[in-house]
């Protein structure tokens, strides 16, 4: 399983996202290294198809697909938790579901 965390330093959320991701991987018994990819400019954002920070991909698939037509740019991603609240990081249960799908 390949696990990537793509992040941009204009958003302070990536340490929290990384900690949550590692926690879920540990709880699920998955021994995968998290590859961290810093996105530094718009050209790289386009090239990496980066919809915002943080973005987590497992085996190349975004764990929360951003939707058709989402722009690729240096921005912060807006996630929704399972109870409907806005969040700068994915709901941990969405992370867990993605890990289980890929395992």
């Amino acid at each position: 399983m390949t696990v990537e965390l793509l992040w941009w330093d204009g958003c302070p959320s990536h340490p929290e996202a990384l900690a949550e991701l590692r926690r879920v991987l540990r709880e699920e018994g998955v021994e995968a290294e998290v590859s961290r990819v810093q996105i530094e400019d718009d050209e790289q954002a386009m090239r990496e198809r980066f919809p915002g920070s943080p973005t987590i991909r497992i085996d190349g698939d975004d764990i929360v697909p951003p939707g058709e037509g989402a722009p690729f740019s240096l921005t912060c991603r807006v996630y929704r938790t399972r109870d409907g609240r806005y969040s700068p990081v994915p709901d941990p249960e969405d992370v867990r579901a993605a890990v289980r799908r890929a395992a």
Binding site: C11, P12, S13, S73, C76, V78, R85, S87, P88
Partner: protein, 169 residues
């Protein structure tokens, strides 16, 4: 850059309907935006405080570069206010970014609480955790309660947490 104890800069900015608003005090000036998840997560708590403190003037100001971040354009701000329909404070556009710069705002959100003389008494985050709705903008409310009681704010400064303000290049 406005520090605790400094008099805050005055401003006049347009809201989403084109009406101009000038700073009146006491006030809460909130730099915020449409595209930042931290600003969105804290918005309801700040709006709730605005309703609970009708004697305080609340201003939400969006200073972000709309060219790079179209979700923060005046049109997108207007659509949001119309969609949500229950804003207890004007949503102002700081197109030149001069107001955000003069205040020294860093993030969205970034809050500035001004007393009746326009002096900065609190600056920072609404409360300790964007995820915990039960905190109910407690740091902001503590500051406002101190203003009402003419007391010094016990915690006058906290680190603003959120997305960096998107300055024009």
């Amino acid at each position: 850059m406005t520090a605790i104890g400094d008099r805050a800069p005055e401003f006049t900015l347009p809201d989403t309907a084109g009406e101009e608003h000038s700073l009146e005090t006491p006030a809460v000036v909130v730099f915020t935006c449409n595209h930042c998840p931290y600003a969105l997560a804290w918005h309801d708590r700040i709006a709730s405080a605005a309703r609970d403190y009708p004697d305080i003037h609340f201003y939400a100001i969006n200073p972000n570069d709309a060219e790079g971040y179209p979700r923060d354009s005046l049109e997108a701000m207007r659509e949001r206010v119309e969609r949500e329909g229950d804003w207890p404070m004007p949503y102002l556009r700081d197109e030149s970014q001069e107001v955000a710069s003069a205040f020294g705002a860093k993030t969205t959100p970034d809050l500035f609480v001004l007393d009746a003389d326009g002096v900065l008494r609190y600056r920072g985050a609404p409360d300790a955790d964007y995820q915990d709705e039960t905190l109910d903008a407690g740091w902001l409310r503590d500051a406002l309660n101190c203003l009402r009681a003419s007391e010094d704010v016990a915690r006058p400064e906290t680190d603003p947490i959120g997305c960096s303000i998107k300055w024009k290049q």
